[in-house]
């Protein structure tokens, strides 16, 4: 931002970057298995992670670099719903507690590696499983791309972006190098790499944020000073733009949602995002990598430590206002705050934390997307006779492709595009909830009805997001993820509701209605490959082997 490269900050940054690179490659020797040439080993870390490792891995997975940049950025920008990330990550864990142990059990018993494997086994529908796999891959790609946006923000502030006049090659080279390194060690170490790097990442993040939260208020007149300055800044904006706000051409700024409509947005975003998060293939990958079903439950009680941290971090967005940080791109507010308020070595530490914070989820996400590709598209359609080693090879290649796809995505398309697609990703992934979550409890919903409900939810959610203009710019698209509740043009309520949730309700209505029809017509519901007891088994139970053979899996066809 300020042009020059600070040598101290850069040295610290490069030191940690080097450290995680070494760790990433060494990870393949950690808890070494006989061979990494099968999906369980490469893609699920041998399904052997205990509470401690899982805590770091799942934490590293959920709280991404983009979260660390974007959540404070929304508070900095005066969005009244910006803090929703905190209740979102509060309600997430009880939900995980309820549903995911069942998924762990059935996956372990039937050797499912992906959520689409489960849907295939449960509903005996290749079309539905493909829909789930396709949705997972589609929703994960922009998520990976956003991690790159997070790294880019840090590189920019570090001065590695080459400034606004730099050519694309100079500008993008550092990002390219960082990602090539990430791709290389994910390729060689699989899920073990992000699990090991997550230790470094989370330690750094905790140190940085706790130090910042303790130190910054002493510099900025205490928390009351920070909140008063932020409030004053928002009040000034609202006064200066009173006409535009009244005309609906600008959004009023504030600290928290005061109107009922905004409170609905806050609550529905929290719930919708929480429901979406654990449908993402990378959450499922992290959960299935644990060694018994209670590790998930225990972690549901331990992971909220991160929510606390995220809340503190979010408040730094307000501290940036109080510190007088002025940036046009709110995403740069936090990196800028660190550069401005802290000594270079601490800023370097913070930047390293954010960048490494991008590597962990990016690696897990690319592995998850690659598993989906291999199991549910490659093996299901292209090469049903693929051997275990073939699967692992495919997944490794696919993880490279996915990452470079995301890189091209970020470099070639405007940044807004990734953010819009990420918004859509949440809406899309929610549409797989009926098949997966309800499927964990009952097979009552008919497979064809689920597919129809999925399609309706996907189309409606995409359309709703597409047709929401940016405030003050009619005719634009993807202006937000909430809107007044409307069904077929009839406004039911002025309260703002997250599209993902409305699309999900629509999805469920269609699924239930069609199930009645299909059942009345006695259309075959297929054969259930699972048994009720499968949903309750734990490690050590009969037929639940710790070291299972992927070839014996009911083939994903």
């Amino acid at each position: 931002m300020s042009g020059g490269i600070d040598p101290v900050a850069l040295t610290i940054f490069l030191f940690f970057f080097g450290l995680v690179t070494v760790l990433g490659f060494l990870a393949s020797r950690w808890r070494k298995a006989a061979s990494l040439d099968n999906l369980d080993e490469w893609g699920l870390g041998g399904r052997s992670f205990g509470t401690f490792v899982a805590w770091f891995l799942i934490g590293g997975d959920i709280y991404t670099a983009y979260t660390f940049i974007a959540v404070p950025a929304t508070l900095y920008a005066g969005s009244v719903t910006g803090f929703f990330a905190v209740p979102y990550t509060i309600v997430l864990y009880p939900i995980i507690f309820m549903f995911l142990p069942r998924l762990w059990s059935v996956s372990h018993r039937r050797r499912y590696v992906t959520p689409a494997d489960f849907v295939q086994g449960r509903f005996d529908s290749k079309a539905l499983a493909t829909a789930v796999a396709f949705t997972g891959i589609l929703a994960t790609l922009p998520y990976i791309a956003l991690q790159l946006v997070g790294i880019q923000a840090v590189l920019d502030v570090l001065g590695l972006g080459g400034g606004p006049d730099a050519g694309w090659f100079r500008k993008d080279l550092p990002l390219f190098v960082a990602f090539a390194v990430l791709a290389a060690y994910t390729y060689s170490s699989g899920l073990r790499a992000p699990a090991l790097i997550a230790f470094v990442k989370d330690t750094l993040i905790y140190v940085v944020i706790i130090a910042a939260v303790v130190y910054l208020p002493t510099q900025l007149g205490g928390w009351d000073g920070i909140f008063d300055k932020a409030q004053a800044s928002f009040d000034l904006f609202n006064r200066d733009n009173a006409d535009a706000i009244a005309a609906g051409d600008a959004s009023a700024k504030g600290l928290f949602p005061t109107t009922g409509a905004a409170q609905w947005a806050y609550a529905s975003l929290s719930l919708g995002s929480a429901l979406a998060l654990f449908m993402y293939p990378h959450s499922v990958t992290a959960v299935l990598s644990t060694k018994n079903r209670n590790i998930i439950r225990r972690n549901a009680a331990l992971l909220p430590a991160y929510s606390f941290l995220l809340g503190l971090l979010a408040l730094l967005g307000l501290a940036a206002i109080a510190a007088g940080v002025k940036v046009d791109n709110a995403q740069l507010a936090i990196p800028q705050l660190f550069e401005q308020e802290f000594s270079p070595w601490f800023a370097g530490l913070a930047f390293a934390a954010i960048a490494i914070g991008a590597f962990v989820p990016a690696a897990i996400m690319s592995i998850a997307a690659a598993n989906l590709w291999t199991r549910n598209i490659y093996k299901a359609f292209l090469r049903p006779q693929a051997s275990e080693a073939d699967e692992a090879r495919q997944s490794k290649l696919a993880s490279l492709l996915v990452k470079f796809g995301a890189l091209v995505f970020v470099l070639a398309l405007p940044k807004e595009f990734s953010i819009n697609l990420q918004l859509l990703g949440g809406i899309w992934i929610l549409q797989t909830l009926p098949a997966i979550v309800i499927g964990l409890y009952t097979r009552w919903l008919h497979r064809h009805a689920l597919l129809a409900g999925w399609a309706v939810g996907m189309v409606w959610g995409t359309y709703a997001a597409y047709s929401t203009p940016v405030v003050g710019k009619p005719g634009t698209h993807f202006g937000g993820s909430v809107a007044p509740l409307e069904v077929l043009g009839v406004r039911l309520s002025d309260n703002l509701v997250y599209f993902g949730l409305t699309a999900l309700v629509l999805n469920l209505v269609v699924s239930v209605a069609l199930t009645f029809v299909l059942r009345a017509l006695k259309v075959s519901a297929g054969v259930d490959d699972t048994r009720p007891a499968d949903y309750l088994v734990d490690a050590g139970d009969p037929h639940v082997e710790d070291d299972l053979d992927a070839i014996q899996t009911p083939p994903a066809t």
């Binding site: 509060i90 309600v91 609550a267 929510s307």
Partner: protein, 93 residues
């Protein structure tokens, strides 16, 4: 929470535990999900705590409360599962 009602293998020695603990765990979890979503109950400025508006510090408090609720649910479910395994004559981990 239909953990208990799902089918079990052949009849087993001992009597299986009742659903009381699972129901209690379910209630604790539902409370932990619903309370943070009642935004209107906490979207206000006061009373402040060390300069932090109620809206913010209350949600930090909720994080702690929900950890307690989830921990209670965890203990209930674990003890239920242990008894169920014992009733089924399986090894108790």
């Amino acid at each position: 929470m239909d953990e208990r009602t799902a089918g079990r293998p052949a009849p087993a020695p001992g009597s299986p535990p009742g659903p009381a603990r699972l129901v209690a765990a379910g209630v604790a979890l539902v409370v932990a999900v619903v309370v943070p979503l009642l935004v209107w109950t906490y979207a206000r400025r006061g009373p402040e705590l060390a300069g932090i508006p109620f809206f913010f510090w209350y949600q930090f408090l909720l994080v702690v409360v929900c950890v307690v609720l989830t921990t209670i649910a965890y203990r209930l479910v674990i003890s239920h599962e242990r008894d169920r395994r014992r009733a089924e004559g399986r090894d108790v981990a």
